[in-house]
Amino acid sequence: MNIHEYQGKTLLRENNVTVLEGVHCTNVEQALAAYDSLGSKVVAVKSQIHAGGRGKGTLYHPETREHVMDGGVKIAFSREEVETYATNILGNVLVTIQTGDEGKLVSNLYIEAGCDIAHEYYLALLVDRDTKSVLIMASTEGGMDIEDVAHNTPELIHKVVVDPNAGLLGFQKRDLGMALGLSGAALKSFGKMLSSMYTMFVAEDCVMVEINPLVKTGADEIVALDSKISFDENAEFRHKKWDELRDLSEEEDVEIRAKETGLSYVKLDGNIGCLVNGAGLAMATMDVIKLYGGEPANFLDVGGGANEEQVKTAFSIIMEDPNVKGILVNIFGGIMRCDIIARGVIAATEALSLKVPLVVRLAGTNVDEGKKILAASTLNIHAADDLAEGAQKIVALIGGGQ
């Protein structure tokens, strides 16, 4: 789960990481009031969306798609400029390298006081799969795309792995700070900031905290100028306040509803809907559809113990997508019995009066009974014995690929 920069800054502030003064706004009047209250001649006017590359993004009108302004993060030197930038950003769509062509509607703005920057750095904390530990990465190349830095000049990225039993140690903070060329008061400030950041990372169940740039001010203070924070969804049960931080407009409505009923759904661009049990098999089903010339419309995992009602919900979610021209059901019954799935499929197709072709591949527990139930139905359901046959059948039934 991602949160906005302004929410991240609040969290950082609460955890004793130095950030600049800033105000969250949702309209131009608030933005102007924020400018007045900050008492800083220069302010940053920052679009708040859950995607990176905002500074280099482009704003468009949400309906006409007319070009409005280049850059989703602007430095304003006057009240008038704040007004212009806020007007150009709010209610418009920001397209960045991470949003796709559709872009994201900007409804939130952050007005932040200016800062005397001596140097920009990159800092990230994340759970590293290789070392199975929290990894801290820092670089002198702040403000840059870190993937480019990793690719072109990997020697400029410095890493520290935190032993979960020992926690973040003093020498690790010094090593990292000195690798960035810090000394004196700045090194001390960096160490203090890093301790606070690591404590927050663990306490708040983060999976990633990225500060790009982290800056050293003229007064040798280390300040987090940006914040990108992701929480571990698995830890939601112990963080009640995440409900308030969640911006539902940043998530696909249908994906949220799927999750509420215990289904895992991701919408894709194709025209063949998939209903599968198990995440790996669901991915493989999409892959095989593509292999035989079709395009999958979605990823959908009904889980290990789906009931008739969940199967029905799954069908209705798939059919909400107007692009869907056919559906492939692929179930390998383990705990889940094929006869129950067969009944669920029939009930769902009847209840939704499904018009598109449906191919059902069943295997595993009670497969013969399941197949008998499908064969006895008068509905337009095609059976398949394995995944390849199922994929070939559905692709043929909808008249080939797109």
């Binding site: 895992s264 493989a284 892959d287």
Partner: protein, 307 residues
């Protein structure tokens, strides 16, 4: 032989009094697994009925292992308590026997809990953790065998193919594919789809290579991370037995989590294409479609004179 779990391994069930734990404990007994009891804090002294027979429940894993000399435990404890259940089992096995296998089925354990639990287990060298978020491990026997997890037992048969996979249902698919060419399995392991887990691909490959019963291996990966690439590079140097591979998620869009917590392409890394490429470079025979795993395996077996 088999790997890590013998056919007659003595197995405990943590969370045996819960709905999931009891359901699957019953299925395991039905399959023939040598279940010796379970552990639920606060319910020690009770019994649970599995397949018509009573099985004892202990408060703590120390008591349970003391009483039964168990070889393995399987965890069906809900996510908030699962990491601690792993650590309790690791501590008890280490203290009493110096060894033990912990299979954690639970899905949805907080990642930082797993960081702690994995470090705890790794500090106890005799202890092996499989999972979490996995179907478990099964060593089919002539009759029955040891099924430790949630996989459907009846699709398996004893044989010479070792299977290792991140995914549950894809493992079943691979099992069915071996059966379609009249081959059985030595041991099948689901290592789980979480970003931080216990046993990885390389440990499984090493064990299969060393196991005389295993003559060929099926390895199934998915998008996210680079465990498959590392395993492939390791296998090229260290595994002499034929390996057949598949990777799920060639059509997954970047930046989207595909069901499993670990199944995500981030920063353009961890794609299926990259992993297939690593497999091919290592001489692993790839199936582009899981329904072809059987055929590709058959050809690999023929190529080395095993069929």
């Amino acid at each position: 032989m088999s790997i890590w779990i013998e056919e007659d391994a003595k197995v405990l069930v943590q969370g045996i009094t819960g709905k999931q734990g009891m359901f699957h404990a019953d299925k395991m007994v039905e399959y023939g697994t040598n279940i010796v009891g379970g552990c639920t804090p606060g319910k020690g002294g009770q019994t649970v009925e599995l397949q018509g027979n009573p099985y004892p429940v202990w408060h703590t894993m120390t008591d349970a292992i003391d009483a039964t000399d168990a070889d393995a435990t399987v965890i069906y404890v809900p996510p908030p308590f699962a990491a601690e259940a792993i650590m309790e089992a690791a501590d008890a096995f280490d203290f009493i026997k110096g060894e033990g296998v912990i299979v954690c089925i639970t899905e949805g354990i907080p990642t930082l809990d797993m960081v702690k639990a994995v470090a705890y287990v790794e500090n106890r060298p005799g202890i092996r953790l499989i999972g979490p978020n996995c179907p478990g491990i099964i060593t089919p026997g002539e009759t029955g065998g040891a099924k430790i997890g949630i996989m459907p037992g009846h699709i398996h048969a004893k044989g010479r193919i070792g299977i290792v996979s991140k995914s549950g249902t894809l493992t079943y698919e691979a099992v069915a594919q071996t059966m379609s060419i009249n081959e059985g399995q030595s041991t099948c392991i689901g290592i789980g789809g979480d970003p931080v887990n216990g046993t990885g691909f390389i440990e499984c490959l090493a064990a299969f290579e060393a196991d005389p019963q295993t003559e060929a291996i099926i390895m199934i990966g998915e998008i996210g991370g680079n465990a498959e690439q590392e395993a492939a590079a390791w296998a090229a140097e260290n595994v002499t037995k034929p390996i057949v591979g598949f990777v799920a998620g060639a059509t997954a869009p970047p930046g989207k989590r595909m069901g499993h917590a670990g199944a995500i392409i981030s920063g353009g890394k961890g794609t299926a294409e990259e992993k297939f490429e690593a497999f091919r470079e290592a001489g692993i025979a790839c199936a582009m479609d899981p329904s072809e795993l059987g055929q590709v395996l058959l050809e690999s077996l023929k190529a080395v004179g095993l069929r």
